[in-house]
Amino acid sequence: MNNSFLHRFSTHGILILGTIFMSAPVWIAFMSSTHSADTLFREGLQYWFGGNFFETYYEVLFVEGGVMKKVTALEMLGNSMILGLGFAIGKVVISMSAAYAIVYFRFRLATPLFWVIFLTLLLPLEVRIVPSYEVVAGLGLLNTHTGLIVPLIASATGTFFFRQYFKSVPEELLEAARLDNAGPMRFLIDVLVPLSKTMIAAIMIIMFVVGWNQYLWPLMMTTEENSYTIVIGIKQIYQVLSEGGELPQFQKAFALTILAVLPPVVVVLVFQSWFVKGLVESEK
């Protein structure tokens, strides 16, 4: 009795400590964002609500010059959304088509080709960033959404997941579809895509978060404020804030951070059940 109480107490204690440890920075950032620049400057980080919530967030989100010189946080969120969605959709489409070709069209080089694709895991963007930049700049795509997204969407991991999944789909389904007069496109759209629904959802969610959090590539790619993503905004705001000898507007930096975290959190929370289903179950 006593023993099990102690046991429960200690396990819960550890878990609670862990939770506090993980969420404290977010809490502090959020609390600090609701105070005035004045308070922050005088008293440092804040641990409870202040009175400036609406003011700060309104200014950051909607007022031109409120946070950057020209661009508002809302516009940066928009850019991030485009990057996140483009990244996720692009990756799913590309890796699904690659896996489809590799698994279902038994051309001679399919297997070696798959391993070549797999090897690109060893060449993440960070390694090939200079040549990638050269190419994108050469095509005149700096500061465009296309230039931001396209170089990122080839995905060895995605291809690998889809390949494994397609291999587990019984071959007879393809044969039945062939007898049912369904060509390759038909089979992909009518059979494979619906079957991989949960898988697609799971990969999309992961990829959306990864895309949203892209840092290095957008940092190099975007030189104009108009194409900043929110993550880049956070980095740049400190420069903007410390310019001009005024009181640094730290509450805005905190607000921007909180805004940057929200969309991925919402996506993960809303699609959580799908996400788990996609990774754990296979519907057959």
Partner: protein, 356 residues
């Protein structure tokens, strides 16, 4: 309403496996042909070549006299029922059945009518909105049949469609398949390795062994007049009794016993005597003697198993005798038996060729 002709069909897989070797066959309109043979003999391969799912390495295949070797599976107008049913898991039963029709551009109202009619015939109308996962094995089997029937194809192809069902359902579905096939009159090929299924379904049956058709004919033909040792031992349940024999000095020696009534057999080659269990009679002065090991009561009759005396230990000499209801035997009893000489068969052991 179609005929199918295979001439000189061969299949070599990329890995070198020679799965089908020189198959010739003429299947007439409305016939139900069963391919039967042991696992790995090439039945599925042959069927899949007819469906167009597997390329034909050599030979020619014709439906209604038209060469189909190069024609795509969809355009051959054949329908197949797979062992695992291969239903589209995300589509309702209705859509599963309608898919092939809508892909062929049939009008919506026609599809609706056709699917409902077929569903009624198979008694699955109540499940049309369900997904395959919400059906029992037997119901799924019906849906798979429905998907084939609804297209009114030239040929039905079945690849062991009943092997995932339990024994009772299997018998029931077997009868139903036979009935449907009769009713619809569609030329069909049915693959199985279960010889009972083969015997009961087939108009004609083709026994396949190592990629070759050993013999083709009506079930009774194959049962009473097998051309090879393989066919004799494959067809029939319980199996035919096989006893090693030799032909010496103009007489057939079976173990220690001499069997009269055989002439002009090759001397000095190992032979095999084959006798069906129902062609053995109990007789007080019988030439063979067995000691009873086991009696299986089947109700109408019983099967008596025992070892024949007069053989040395390493030769096969187990016998099975089909006996009437009245015959109550106990293990350990000695029984004297006579073989019906005119129904007995003699094979060469080396080539399997039937001599008598």
């Amino acid at each position: 309403m179609s005929t199918l002709t295979l001439s000189g069909i061969n299949k070599r897989y990329d890995n070198g496996a020679h799965a089908v070797r020189g198959v010739d066959m003429d299947i007439s309109d409305g016939e139900l042909i069963v391919f039967v043979g042991p696992s790995g003999c090439g039945k599925s391969t042959l069927l899949r070549m007819v469906a167009g799912l597997e390329a034909i390495t050599e030979g020619e295949m014709k439906i209604d006299g038209t060469r189909i070797n190069e024609i795509s599976p969809a355009d051959r107008d054949v329908a197949m029922v797979f062992q695992n049913y291969a239903l589209y898991p995300h589509m309702s039963v209705f859509r599963n059945m309608a898919y092939g029709l809508s892909n062929r551009g049939m009008a919506k109202s026609d599809i609706e009518a056709k699917v409902r009619e077929t569903a009624r015939m198979l008694r699955i109308e109540d499940y049309l909105e369900r997904k395959p996962a919400q059906l029992s094995g037997g119901q799924r089997q019906r849906v798979a049949m429905g998907r084939a029937i609804v297209r009114s194809p030239k040929l039905f192809l079945f690849d062991e469609p009943l092997s995932n069902l339990d024994a009772k359902l299997r018998v029931q579905m077997r009868i139903e398949i036979k009935r449907l096939q009769r009713e619809l009159g569609v030329t069909s090929i049915y693959v199985t390795h279960d010889q009972t299924e083969a015997m009961t379904l087939a108009d004609r049956l083709a026994v396949i062994n190592e990629g070759k058709v050993e013999q083709m004919g009506s079930p009774m033909d194959l049962y009473s007049d097998p051309k090879t040792l393989f066919v004799a031992s494959f067809i029939g349940s319980p199996h035919i009794n096989l006893l090693p024999a030799r032909f010496e000095n103009g007489e057939l020696q079976v173990g220690a016993t001499t069997m009269p009534g055989f002439e002009a057999l090759p001397e000095g080659v190992p032979l095999m005597l084959g006798v069906r269990p129902e062609h053995i009679a109990q007789h007080p002065e019988g030439a063979f003697e067995i000691s009873v090991d086991l009696v299986e009561q089947l109700g109408a009759d019983s099967l008596i198993y025992g070892a024949v005396s007069g053989f040395n230990g390493d030769e096969p000499h187990e016998l099975c005798v089909r006996a009437g209801e009245a015959s109550q035997r106990e293990p350990g009893e000695l029984l004297k038996l006579n073989f019906e000489t005119d129904r007995a068969m003699v094979f060469r052991q080396d080539s399997g060729e039937r001599l008598v």
